[in-house]
Amino acid sequence: MQLALFIIFAALAIAGALNLLLQKHPINSALSLVVVMLSLAVLYWSLGAEFLAAAQVIVYSGAIMVLFVFVIMLLNAGEEEHTTGSRAAYFAGIPGALAVFCLLSFVFLRESKAFGSVQLSTAPVGAMSNIAEISQVLFTKLLLPFEVTSILILVAILGAVVLARKEERE
């Protein structure tokens, strides 16, 4: 069951990612990215990380990608032209991507025993939720990075407000 889910949604994620690159119209690319995000959410869910899956859907597919689509609609972006690409991309990109792929698969295969495994929870009623665990870690061990990230986002919001306000004053 879990393996079937993994195969279906991993394939869907890869297909979405390829479609994202191959589509000419930006809105189709943005929608393919939504498919990728949703498939990732299902993969998180099948690993037992329900909260992470829900957050992925709400934050990425529901908020960030909606803004992407919104901006594309508002700017009425046209179709892109496909170029053959630069030569440097072929000479450096393809071997580079292969090297990263080999490195990652080597590390994962070698350390696969240390990662452990989880089962898709069959009885959600009464089971310990992982929300409590996540918040425990987030507010004790990782408190500093958490707060620093919050401040970073706040700075970004203020920057956006400043940029948006600039035109009014002139």
Binding site: S61, V66, S129
Partner: protein, 352 residues
């Protein structure tokens, strides 16, 4: 014939899905009739009264009419997106009913009869599916290749993104009190003393409830926040170019969303399927108790739908800048203050 546990689970789940789907769609059809009748009475006229007794067959007639209408597709639309947009809207509106517990826990062969799926993070599932539903509206307006439809969908999208924040934040107080995102646990946390322990009264979440109510009206694009379909300025908003069943799908999605939002309000603030008289009215066996809990749930939903219609016939429409200012400068700060006060009260309570 002997069935294994898994087969019983599968069979009962399929039956539950079919029954809930049929009931939701029927409820959608009759909510439309209810709205037309009630608004008619409020405007001192009869409303539909010709088809069947008291106009009760009107939804059927409307359905046949929409089904038999010619399905027009304008020439210059973005075809795949134009076709998929109403499907996204309706699917997202219907799926979220799956995690709603609409009756007391009634086990049959280990399967809960009155809830399709009991999910640990049920509340987040509903919020997530609602946020995906925005795509249906955004894409329908853009792919129609019509400036009124585009304006309508831009309004709808920005309104839904803005009010989603206030909506989510208003529910945090309730989640803090229940200590869980499971909808059953949230209902159980407020069913001890009937109406006195409901979150809106005993839980002191009355401010959160009104924030939720207002953001919910904006989320479902209903009056007084129905700017996306303001007929005097935008023809019909995002579904201007849709006809026949595709239009009907948007129409059904809107009413299904109203029902979902009413379900969440009932579960979060009004004790879900529990009786307002607490355990005073507990009588009969498990079947009587189950029916009683369903009665209370349906009654509460009905009250919310009536309120929706009442508000629509009472309040004038907001202006666009008022709408945005109201959401960002009033509802959101109040929701944050509510969270702080609730958690402060809980921390003090835990210490004493």
């Amino acid at each position: 014939m002997h069935l294994t546990d898994f087969q019983i689970f599968l069979l009962l789940s399929l039956v539950k899905v079919a029954v809930v789907l049929v009931i939701t769609l029927t409820a959608v059809a009759y909510t439309v009739l209810l709205e037309r009748k009630v608004i008619g009475r409020m405007q001192n006229r009869w409303g539909p009264s010709r088809t069947g007794p008291f106009g009760l067959l009107q939804p059927l007639a409307d359905g046949i009419k929409l089904f038999l209408k010619e399905d027009l597709t304008p020439l210059l639309v973005e075809r795949p997106l134009f076709l998929i947009a109403p499907i996204i809207a309706l699917t997202c509106a219907l799926v979220s009913v799956a995690v709603v517990p609409f009756g007391a826990v009634t086990l049959f062969h280990g399967v809960d009869l009155f809830e399709v799926a009991n999910v640990n993070v049920g509340l987040l599932v509903i919020l997530g599916i609602t946020s995906i539903g925005v795509y249906g509206i955004a894409l329908s307006g853009w792919s129609s290749n019509n400036k009124f439809a585009l304006l309508g969908s831009l309004r709808a999208t920005s309104q839904m993104i803005s009010y989603e924040l206030a909506l989510g934040l208003s529910l945090v107080g309730v989640v803090l009190r229940a200590g869980s995102l499971n909808l059953r646990t949230i209902v159980d946390s407020q069913s001890a003393h009937g109406a006195l322990s409901w979150n809106i009264f005993g839980g002191l979440q009355i401010v959160a409830f009104f924030i939720y109510l207002m953001s919910a009206y904006a989320e479902t694009n209903r009056s007084p926040f129905d700017l996306p379909e303001a007929e005097s300025e935008l023809v019909a908003g995002y579904h201007t170019e849709y006809s026949s069943m595709k239009f009907a799908m948007f129409f059904m999605a809107e009413y299904a969303n109203m029902i979902t939002v009413s379900c969440v309000a009932t579960l979060m603030f009004f004790g879900g399927a529990s009786s307002p008289f607490g355990h005073l009215t507990d009588f009969g066996g498990p079947i009587a108790m189950g029916l009683q809990s369903i009665f209370w749930f349906v009654f509460k939903i009905f009250a919310f739908l009536f309120l929706y219609i009442w508000v629509r016939s009472t309040l004038p429409r907001f202006r666009y800048d008022q709408l945005m200012a109201f959401g960002w400068k009033f509802l959101m700060p109040v929701a944050i203050v509510n969270i702080i006060l609730t958690s402060l009260a809980m921390a003090l309570h835990a210490k004493v």
